[in-house]
Symmetry: C2
Subunit: 426 residues, 2 copies
């Protein structure tokens, strides 16, 4: 596929060729993929249809993940999307980089946010009276700046609309999620060569994360919900997997201190421990979520049985999932299956640490739709989610499986392709 990208023609079907004889350009990694013009045009049109349907005259997009989605570039900027007409990216920092990255034609340098209304009026005629903002993520102080800039305007939340729009992925986006999944799977294959008795969880995590970095893991894992934070997922061993936290996750770990209160610790990995290899991979902004289990020695029968139950629950959910099925139906099916296994009390956490979902959408953020909980949202073709039936057995540890799945026309298609059996190491 060849699309016109600004004033250059770029072949986007594969990474740009490396020309090692030439210094890389200073602003864009040579192997980076740029978001195709057709993608951005379709996404902006989707947002505009929603604005028109709600009687909103425009939206102003400011949050990083949403900026990337609708413009293909993350700058300190305001993306002004009128309900009808061309979107404009008003850039405070860095217009030069925006021009290299976005297929949008309308890039306007912005000296100060104070200039925004004047520039909008200049480009779009009258100032909008009904404006959509991402009120689910926009801090109040920032919102009040918008109120001052556009004193005649009424603002409405479009965060929810954007989240629903972003839940359905294009084929191009699914390719990116597959690239993230490939990192998770490839690093997982390296675990038997890394894991050994005597390493601390921290040492093990560092070595695993280094492999992910080598493969292009981008590090920053974006989450939309206020106060939710994630660092590479949860690489937890033995009883560490039983530590729950503020996070909306079935397992969290102790972390190194109460300040972070999740993730790995200085606990040494010992014979008899197992590893919950829960890795969140990010490539070109897109996330895949993936969990496999490794055992150093013999796994207690109770954990092994719980793992087998997790696989059965996964299979049951996968068999039932297809477009039109509600999240609630899948969640209730899984909860009932866990009860049938006699493991209701430890399913998706234990006690107050138990969470009320079995999966979550992934994309540019880790906490996307669909959330497989008591929700009436129906699965739709193109949705991508992580399904993670897991158990937390106090005193023993956490165990379970997690795959990222694409909703196809007839069911689910596996994105994180890797064997599911528990692997013995050492």
């Amino acid at each position: 596929m060849s699309v016109t990208f600004g004033d250059r023609a770029t072949d986007l079907s594969r990474p740009m060729p490396r020309t090692d004889a030439v210094q890389p350009p200073p602003l864009v990694e040579p192997r980076a993929t740029l978001v195709p013009a057709t993608e951005v045009a379709g996404r902006v049109a989707g947002l505009q249809a929603g604005l028109s349907a709600r009687g909103l005259e425009a939206a102003v997009i400011v949050q990083n993940a949403d900026l990337y989605y609708f413009s293909g570039t993350v700058q300190r900027s305001f993306l002004y999307v009128p309900a009808v007409g061309e979107a404009t990216l008003f850039v405070r920092k860095l217009a030069e980089r925006a021009r290299l990255e976005t297929p949008l034609a309308g890039i306007v340098e912005l000296g100060s946010p104070r200039d925004l209304p004047g520039l909008v009026a200049e480009r779009c005629g009258a100032l909008p009276r009904r404006v959509g903002l991402e009120l689910d993520v926009l801090p109040v102080v920032e919102y009040r700046r918008f109120e001052k800039l556009f004193p005649e305007a009424v603002f409405e939340d479009v965060g929810d609309d954007i989240v629903r729009q972003r839940a359905v992925k294009s084929a191009w986006e699914v390719e990116r999620i597959r690239a993230a999944a490939a990192i998770a799977v490839e690093v997982c294959e390296l675990v038997p060569g890394i894991l050994r008795e005597g390493l601390t969880e921290a040492e093990f995590a560092g070595l695993v994360e280094a492999e992910a970095r080598r493969l292009g893991h981008e590090g920053i894992i974006r989450m939309r919900a206020f106060n939710q934070e994630m660092f590479y997922g949860q690489l937890l061993t033995g009883v560490s997997g039983t530590a729950a936290s503020y996070l909306d996750t079935p397992l969290a770990g102790t972390g190194f201190s109460p300040a972070v209160a999740q993730g790995v610790s200085f606990k040494p990995i010992r014979r008899g421990d197992h590893v919950v290899f829960d890795l969140v991979a990010v490539r070109e902004g897109y996330i895949a979520d993936f969990t496999r289990i490794f055992a150093l020695g013999e796994l207690p029968g109770e954990l092994r049985r719980a793992y087998e139950a997790a696989l059965r629950i996964e299979a049951a959910v996968v068999a039932a999932a297809r477009p039109g099925v509600t999240c609630r139906a899948l969640y209730e099916l899984a909860v009932a299956a866990a009860a049938d296994e006699g493991l209701a009390a430890s399913f998706m956490g234990h006690g107050a640490g138990q969470v009320r979902f079995i999966g979550h959408g992934v994309g540019l953020e880790l906490d996307e739709l669909p959330v497989l909980t008591t929700s009436d949202l129906e699965l739709a073709e193109g949705m991508v989610f992580a399904l993670e039936p897991k158990f937390v057995l106090p005193g023993l540890g956490a165990i379970g499986v997690e795959n990222t799945w694409l909703v196809s026309a007839t069911g689910l298609s596996l994105v994180t392709e890797a064997p599911e059996h528990i692997r013995q190491v050492g």
Copy 2:
């Protein structure tokens, strides 16, 4: 020092002893330091004094870094601080962990946020009419939930007060920042054994980050400003250091893709490249920021001269800094010194990538006060900031030095103790 911590006496002067024969407790890392009761009491009293001075009856604290600061624990919770009286932590998830971590006596389990007003009234008498919230970080949708919960209340922003309070560190906090600094310095000492020609930036970063993890780097780097994101700092080589971004930093790197647009790339490290080792270390929630330079072979004279200028600018700022001096005075001194060096155009970035500060406070967040910019804020004893005179020379790379400093009674005291000379590797 021994303080009563809930119902246990804990020696907080050193990490808790490891008892390797015993399984670690599942909820708190055995070597973790808990925030002493005296710290929390002093911080809450400081907030309360500010509330009283402004005529606010209470504050409700919800953001992770602020929760940790005022309670010693990060839970999904509301910390209710009346202007007079005892603070109460209303915990949705996870009260059990909160009780282990916080020295606050008032821990109340909260089934739903809807129960908050009733529980506050029960514990504190009448509902407050004037309430402080962290409006600088609280999303509008969350804020509107508070408006519904407390329909009689007027809300005011206390984010700015909290940021100012947190700018001045206790001796206990400075110890934590020193522990973070120790990670940065120790990893820096390992660079000559890691860095070699042919590694990609990504491979090099992974190996460096693995060492930091081994030493207890907590991974998550909190930033307060909307949309600002950071992953370990910037480990950039050669011309990569010239890539600016949306970040409010003098250098950013290309990153792997426009989706993240900062940090390392797949660029191979070559003879003649230099490494900007800019590592943000986090230990027990506290941050130290640190930059040193390594050269693989001969560094171009222009970069070397710029580095020497950076050291002179650093020395001049350090000589002038003491309590009572404004941030503006230090910033202008540095800008004038860069101009005297003939390097004004490349100081703190180049062109549109240039930023207008030379340093920033560090603590539980990377972007704390004082910001060394055109601000009238005066330095005060106990403030801790990173001073980072850096230059970006197009076509050559970025170079500079960064140390974390403590404002003492008479001047500045170095936190990141390490030699400043450029180190030749290979």
